[in-house]
Amino acid sequence: MSDQQPRRVIPIKVERPSSLSAAERSAVQGACERLKSLPGALLPVLHAVQEALSYVPKDAVALIARELNLSIAEVHGVVSFYHYFLQERPGRHVLHLCRAEACQALGSVALEAHVKKRLGVDYHGTTTDGSVTLEPVFCLGNCALGPSLMIDQQLHGRVTAERFDALLAQSRELN
């Protein structure tokens, strides 16, 4: 925000005690320290926090707000606006399943039903063993070879129910 007038946000509410661990706290502070001089630093900071902690914990929001001289409402508003930022701790793997039209044309609606049944969760849910969180995504850019999904950052195309089961077993084996 270097191009804007400096301002000071006056906290009108006493912050409640943070439940972040020392390591989490230092990860958040480190991200802020490293990136806060960038113009429009908030998204890069949130990406760094989610990369380090796998989500953006509620208590990180207050800390980020203070470090970037923003209000908690401003930071919360941004975190909750973008689908990619997770506000709850996800499973060990995050599975993004494409819901967009090109994948629908290749039977993704049936695949979606299979995935939900197999995982026993709906979108935004985490399996009971804590291995997988299911998230919807609108287009992964693999529209000629759908249905598509992404596990962590790995893209897969032409996913059938059988292929999904194999990928799931593989992910669970890894961790």
Binding site: L43, Y84, F138, C139, L145, S148
Partner: protein, 517 residues
């Protein structure tokens, strides 16, 4: 011996990394020395992973090559370009590829996307050299004369935008690339950034020279991690080669840029939302005016264009406006990289001059449906584009021709559906998508989309259907005229086109019959 295995995300999704590893291992085992190059995709996506081998200067294609076939390929002598069941002869002689007009995508799939030397060896940075010899107004004049219109979807003349920024008051200006390619059925931005990132960097640098901006941002969607890696490698190489930085090639002119990641918001493909997001805010649409060209990023004059728009600029500067202008029809000049997607046999990227009909593209290139059933509907231009029935397949690919049938060419994405599609479900999805992705600024979009889902549910259930249809059409009109941006304004396109062209899908008895039959 050079062997090419793409690192394009679509190729990786089909196992290209495993194929590359298998080729390296098999070559080692046989004591054959190879140079493995991870190129971009040629765009013949149904053949991915497409392995190419350089035989005496000719690239021979084999595909799709899963890892387990690799030993067999070596056995058959593919290193000498010998025939194999998966062989397709010379890549550039494959009709799907040969018939195209590859201007913007000239190097995609051909070169090593992370090698500056390879880029230079294939005509890279000639556009910048030409631009460095011109005054800013002369560069803008070239872009204007080429007839290049914004390739992101709105098709606004690029030269006019650039001229406005050039004429804006001095001080800090920005060049922003919209790489938030969120339309389903589109992947040309991704393929270009992964396959030839330097051409985007070159185009943005020329835009900086033309408008007096020295700082650029590429706003990239998080769903494209491979594109991020390719861009960052190319930016580092361009800096090291003095093609970016405080003194570009000794010209005394400065330009540098960085990649910023989006976070999963379709609306951030709308330019003013994108600027809000770059500023670190919620991606909410801004009122216009002021135009971003005058008050854009951080309130400063900003050139904001799509990936393909910027990437088309180097060839215009290199070969001249007339060369580019010569392609196309009517007011749609040059080429458009079309993307064949969805239920299509030969899906991929087809860069062609404007003017070909949709039917030629679907059948001569696409080969009909992937499922083998008849094509019933095609959505052109992303989730906000109209659903076209077979009777409209003869529409030429031209911005004005599509506008005339209440459709849009948009970013060139074509999603094909076979006859198993339920068009009422597609119309409902369009409203649902709008509800999920609305930024919330305009009431018709924020609330009307949810009401739209409910009305379609009642209509399909046969709950006073005639009245529901009236309400739905009325609601769509409110969305069209009461929304600031294209999300609310164009969501009625897929809804109304589905309703107009496929009314039988919205009628209860017909649905019950087709479900049981």
């Amino acid at each position: 011996m050079k062997i090419y295995v793409p690192r394009d995300a679509s190729a990786l999704a089909m196992g290209a990394d495993l194929t590359a590893a298998a080729i390296a291992a098999e070559a080692r085992r046989r004591g054959i020395e190879i140079e493995l190059i991870r190129n971009g995709s040629r765009g013949l996506l149904w053949l991915e992973p497409l392995v190419e081998i350089d035989v005496a200067g000719t690239r021979m294609a084999y595909g799709p090559v899963p890892a387990e076939v690799v030993p067999n390929l070596f056995e058959a002598g593919f290193t000498d370009g010998k025939p194999h069941a998966l062989g397709h002869g010379a890549t550039e002689e494959i009709p799907y590829f040969k018939k195209q007009n590859r201007l913007t995508f000239a190097r995609v799939g051909l070169t090593d996307p992370r090698s500056l030397d390879d880029y230079l060896a294939h005509g890279g940075y000639r556009g910048l050299s030409a631009a460095l010899a011109l005054a800013p107004a002369e560069i803008v004049a070239q872009v204007t004369a080429s007839g290049l219109r914004g390739r992101g979807g709105a098709a606004f003349p690029a030269g006019i935008k650039w001229k406005t920024v050039l004429g804006a008051q001095n001080g800090q200006k920005y060049v922003v690339c919209n790489a938030d390619e969120g339309d389903s059925g589109t992947f040309s931005d991704r393929m270009l950034m992964e396959g030839d990132p330097f051409v985007l960097i070159e185009g943005m640098t020329i835009a900086g020279l033309a408008t007096g901006a020295d700082r650029g941002f590429i706003y990239l969607r998080w769903e494209y991690p491979q594109a991020k890696l390719a861009l960052e490698a190319a930016i580092a190489a361009a800096r090291a080669g003095n093609y970016l930085g405080p003194d570009i090639r000794g010209s005394g002119k400065a330009f540098d840029l960085e990649v910023r990641m989006g976070a999963g918001a379709y609306i951030c493909g709308e330019e003013t939302s994108l600027l809000e997001s770059l500023e670190g805010k919620r991606g909410q649409v801004r009122f216009k005016p002021p135009l971003p060209a005058l008050e854009g990023l951080f309130g400063k004059p900003t050139v904001i264009n799509n990936v393909i728009t910027f990437a088309s600029v180097p060839i215009i500067l290199d070969r001249g406006a007339e060369f580019y202008q010569h392609f196309g029809m009517g007011r749609s000049r040059g080429t458009l990289p079309m993307q064949l997607a969805g239920n299509i046999k030969f899906g991929g990227l087809v860069e062609i001059a404007f003017g070909m009909t949709l039917r030629e593209l679907l059948y001569e290139y696409g080969g009909g449906s992937y499922s083998g059933r008849p094509l019933r509907a095609v959505q052109v231009g992303g989730p906000l584009g109209a659903y076209l029935p077979e009777s409209q397949f003869d529409t030429p690919l031209d911005y004005e021709a599509f506008a005339a049938i209440k459709g849009m060419l948009g970013h060139g994405g074509i999603v094909a559906f076979d006859d198993s599609v339920d068009m009422a479900a597609q119309a409902r999805y369009a409203m649902e998508f709008c509800a999920i992705e609305s930024c919330g600024k305009c009431t018709p979009c924020r609330i009307g989309s949810t009401r739209g889902v409910e009305v379609i549910d009642r209509l399909v259930a046969g709950d006073n259907a005639a009245q529901q249809e009236t309400i739905l059409r009325d609601l769509c009109e409110t969305l069209t005229y009461g929304s600031l941006c294209a999300l609310g304004g164009l969501t009625p396109y897929p809804v109304i086109s589905a309703l107009n062209h496929f009314p039988q899908d919205f009628v209860k008895p017909a649905r019950a019959a087709s479900a049981s039959g």
